[in-house]
Amino acid sequence: MLGDFLVTAKVGQVADWPPCPEPRRPAQNYKASEVYSPVFGDLEVYECADGKIIGLSVYGDPSIGKRYFVGPAKVNYFAPLDRLVLLKVAGRPAIAQLPAPGDPEGLRLAVIQRVPSNNQPGIMVWIDNTSKSVAEAAALAAEIMGVRP
């Protein structure tokens, strides 16, 4: 554990998703979802059979997303401890994987917008592989969360 995060350093070890019954179907009102942000723009979204949308991702440069999670706030960051930084973004716990030397686009950032509880999943915002500074990435994460940095 590193602060509020469980750093797994492994592929396939991101935070667990809440249940999503199949089959999926096209979502009509995804912009009303908690995991939608106007930063994402217009998307083609599929929802679970029970009408839930469990996460939205935009594979731009950088790739960004907002998602539900259950259990520990796992992040698959892979770096020496001195490149893992705990911080707060708009008062929420966050972790940054700082870029290695010679890797100007290597910054990753994850923010726990909401901690999971017994009756609702947590919400995590993530930004991967950006050339932005930590401050700039934090500002983007705050924008995705819809709060002031």
Partner: protein
Amino acid sequence: MKRFLVLMTAVCSGLSLPLFDRPEIVQAQTPRTDTIYFMGATRGKDYNNTGVLSWCVSRSWHESYPNGPADALDEVAQQQAVPTPPPTDDQWPAICNSDPTAIDGSGKVDLTTYGVTGPLDCSSPCISLTVRGRSFEYGDGCDYIEADLYDFVTMDDGHKVGEKKGKQRMIHALAPNSTNVPYDLPSIQVTSTGLYASNEIGTLQNDTNCKPNTNPPGFTPGGYHVHHDFMPPTGSQSCSWNQNTPANFPRHITDRQKQNPSHWVHFVSHKPGVSCFADGPPKLADNLLASDGVLDGDGNGGGTRALATGAQSSLTSPQTCITGTSWCGTISVTPPVVQAAFSNYLGLSPTDYLRAQQKRIPPRGSTTPYYWYGPDNGGFYFYVFWWMTYPDGSGYWDCGMGVPGAERYWAGFSSWTGIYTCQNGFISLGGGGGPVTAIENEWSQFRGLNGINPTAPPTQQDANTWAQTQIDSGHWADVVKPALDAVIRAGTGNMDMATLGITGDPPFDGDLGQVGLAGVMNRMNTVASRVMDLPLFDPTRADMNRDWIGSTRPRWSLTGKALR
């Protein structure tokens, strides 16, 4: 005396310095135009034993991000011939599917390219692009391989940065030992007749953890695929790109052939040695130093003064577009540009300042001299080029500095003062070779015209004091502004702007840096196509597979419709 004559000959003949035991420098020429076609990323399958790797489109062109270019294809391997009558949608997955565990290799992912350049260039292969890979998993659990493309001619191998020429991306795939750490992939080469190359870069994944907003059937057997897209560089006179026509890649089409020249997915066309943002710096100078520009501020250098005094750590322009390029966004300026301007004021040319700051190291295989000073400032210069890779048993070379497997460079110089080299002792004209540490050591002793030391620029603090003093004494327009203009205008691309502390949001090199930039992306394609006047290329008409057909693979007819 004989050596002296050789040296004199070398000086008189410019770059062609036949000195000692070292590589040949090639004269700079008019930049050629290279076009790299990216073929299917899925390995495909030779299902009918003809030697052709066949693949199918499970989803036609679609976006990877909102309002971005719809340049992503979902690609799968073709497992068997298409029956008669053609399969229904329900039957289609039995014909076309990928299996991450397939032992026939059909679950593999390749970076397959066809590189072609001008008819008078590169009769033997020329390296066009340096490729840096990155593979891991996004925060939503989706696996990826990204292949960043950099201009080979200007690549700085020391800092692993260069002028961006786009990015190929394969989602739902992983490279071996993926750790999110960038790594080198084989460079991309071109020839005048066209050159195919295919390198395995990873394996398709059972990406079941990748769940957000995906299109059914998702990642189930029959649904595994490679999402293959291209993130283009900034469009300009020197860089353009496109994707193949929708007619060639409709949903559920079969028999896309990996080696068929007309079945390319994306292409990027660029001029080696020229940044996609080459036209940008003079226009940035015009913008930033206009009477209402952020460096001017209020007509008397108020913006620059705010930077120099620390009243503002950076200045940000209003939204703007750079004409002649596809770039639109905001420009951010930070104090290093003041440092560069002061250095210019003290006598170091803007180009020398930039080169000395960057100290670019040429990549393996480069034949281009990288000037750190010069090439001719009153007869003084310092350049570095790649020489060779130290072979086995070379540990005693270069005064014991050789490291087998590491790169060996040569520094050629004409210095105001003497430089100690292990090969030639203490000299001011000539050169010395070795690993980067040897080059750095020689560079630290170099002095340019009038003994100037380009390795020791003025400090930021001194520069700030200079700018503030000059502006306060009424010398904004005749001293500070011209110096700023000179250093910005001297830039040749994104790397130079970064050295000056001038960055774009989105970045000038085409890395979007932000999402929701529909206008930018659409303009990029439009401007690039308009500027370059490039029609969608039909390589079959250009007889572009001449090199490839000499290989062990079956030949295509010139119509591209049948195997020979």
